[in-house]
């Protein structure tokens, strides 16, 4: 029914910062280390901001070509969290 799996774990992320126009996404997560495994992120599907109280959170929906991930960057604590994932096969 709902194929998303809640993770909520702190992860290491390598991000690329690009010079871009006002509407371009200028921060792109490139690689993530989760549970000792390096995952190459090949697609940034969607980025949108949200707030938790006064904390600005940037939500990045990314994919490694097979699985999809929801990463959240806390702009105050400067931390990356892997919030949820979805298997490409939806299993």
């Amino acid at each position: 029914m709902d194929p998303t799996v809640a993770i909520n774990e702190r992860v290491d992320v390598v991000a690329v910062y690009r010079r871009g126009s006002e509407t371009d996404v200028r921060c792109i997560p490139h690689r993530m280390r989760w549970r000792g495994q390096d995952i190459e992120l090949t697609e940034l599907a969607l980025r949108h901001p949200t707030v938790q109280g006064k904390r600005m959170i940037h939500v990045f929906h990314v994919s490694d070509g097979s699985n999809n991930y929801r990463l959240e960057f806390d702009a105050e604590g400067l931390t990356w969290n892997l919030v949820a994932m979805m298997s490409g096969g939806l299993a």
Partner: protein
């Protein structure tokens, strides 16, 4: 037959995001693209689809279909809970793009808006602009985002044109093709004409949109609509503008469907108090005060109850609103198990709170309310709240509003 259609070149553009919430989820989760999926407010056994992807719609899974029915139609059907922050971001992007083309634009709901090009110097056709907006939604928001664009001489025909070829269509309706368009549709296909209205039209011999168009103003006013609406429809169908007037604010309220029906007084009071505080926010956001209060509820066993009261003095602060609401709530039949409850404030009048009151305690209450609103504005949702609403705040969730966008900026601030 001469229908006296508006001969003006179409200058109104209606933009409609196709399957907005489902498309947003398909954009965010590539694994969902091309699959039948939908979103719901709260996942439960009997939850309803509030937005379905085009793949789901092709299988007959439409808005309002229950989860069990959807699963019967398609065992692989995927259902996600709504993610308001994602949709508000889509809304903001659509708004940003629309602003680039005309200063005169209005969002009609979270996923549709109107751009009025009257008075705008155009260097290219509206069709060109429409295609550009479609392209920009795909490049600036996401490749899964498809929009329908309708162009017409008034808001009504622009909306009808936007619904002509779904998904991803762009159509123009004007005096040159309007008759052919009406020939190809049914009464129920007309925006604003649902089953009850079409039955009323058929009862007086109006069987098709062309019959509707041919009907005289007096006939529509006196026989069909029995009000000024007859004139509005007569003109609207011909492409003359009658829908650009701001609507009158008659009431401010909120309702809530309980996750589990209950008769627990303390729990219900906390939830209702929370609802009353959100209604207070809306009231002050619109800069009005209320003289009337109504509390209503429906029971699990069927039927319902409501009570209302007109006050001598208008109310404005959360404390005053809750005082009146709780008095009404205490009059309910207490043994009944409640399924849905809500409240609304009516008899609204412009707020005079900027004027100094003669009474010290009134000034203090106003200042306190203003200070609380400012703190909540800055620090987010319910940073300061009545302790009594603690249980309510954990149970009543803010959902995505489908109607007007009057409170959207308030929700964006407090989301």
């Amino acid at each position: 037959m001469n229908y006296s259609l508006n001969p003006e070149a179409p200058k109104v553009m209606h933009i409609d995001l196709n399957s907005a919430f489902a498309s947003a989820e398909q954009q965010a989760w590539p694994a969902l693209r091309g699959r039948p999926m939908g979103v719901t407010n709260r996942l439960s056994k009997e939850c309803c689809v509030i937005a379905a992807s085009y793949e789901a719609k092709a299988l007959g899974i439409k808005v309002g279909v229950r989860r069990t029915e959807a699963m019967a139609l398609c065992p692989d059907f995927v259902m996600l809970e709504t993610d308001p922050s994602k949709y508000t971001w889509m809304y903001q992007n659509l708004l940003r793009i629309m602003k680039d083309y005309s200063p005169n634009f209005t969002m009609k709901s979270i996923d549709e808006g109107v751009i009025d090009f009257h008075g705008v110097r155009l260097k290219r056709s509206l069709q060109d602009i429409g295609y550009e907006i479609k392209r920009r939604m795909k490049t600036e928001v996401g490749s899964s985002m498809r929009i329908n664009v309708g162009i017409g001489p008034n808001r009504f025909l622009a909306k009808m044109a936007a619904g002509w070829h779904k998904p991803d269509g762009l159509d123009t309706l004007d005096s040159t093709n309007l008759i052919d368009f009406y020939k190809g549709i049914e009464l129920e296909d007309i925006t604003g004409i649902a089953e009850a209205f079409s039955a009323r039209l058929r009862a007086v011999g109006i069987m098709t949109p062309l019959d509707f168009l041919a009907a005289e103003t007096d006939f529509l006013r006196k026989r069909v609509f029995k009000s000024i609406n007859g004139l509005y429809w007569h003109e609207r169908l011909r492409g003359f503008e009658f829908d650009d007037q701001p609507t009158h604010l008659g009431m401010v309220g909120r309702q809530w469907v309980l996750k589990k029906a209950s008769a627990d007084d303390a729990w219900l009071r906390s939830c209702l108090h929370y609802l009353a505080e959100t209604v207070g926010m809306k009231l002050r956001y619109r800069g009005v005060e209320a003289r009337g209060v109504c509390v209503w509820m429906s029971f699990n066993s069927g039927g319902g109850w409501s009570d209302k009261r007109m006050l001598r003095a208008s109310i404005y602060t959360n404390q005053d609103i809750w005082l009146q609401v709780s008095k009404l709530f205490d009059r309910r039949p207490k043994h009944m198990v409640i399924r849905t409850m809500g409240l609304y404030l009516y008899q609204l009048e412009p707020s005079t709170r900027s004027q100094l009151s003669m009474f010290d305690d009134v000034i203090k209450a106003d200042y306190l309310t203003k200070a609380m609103d400012e703190i909540n504005d800055f620090y987010g949702n319910f940073t300061i709240f009545a302790a009594d609403t603690l249980i309510g705040s954990k149970n009543v969730k803010q959902k995505i509003p489908f109607g007007g966008t009057e409170y959207f900026n308030l929700l964006l601030k407090r989301a």
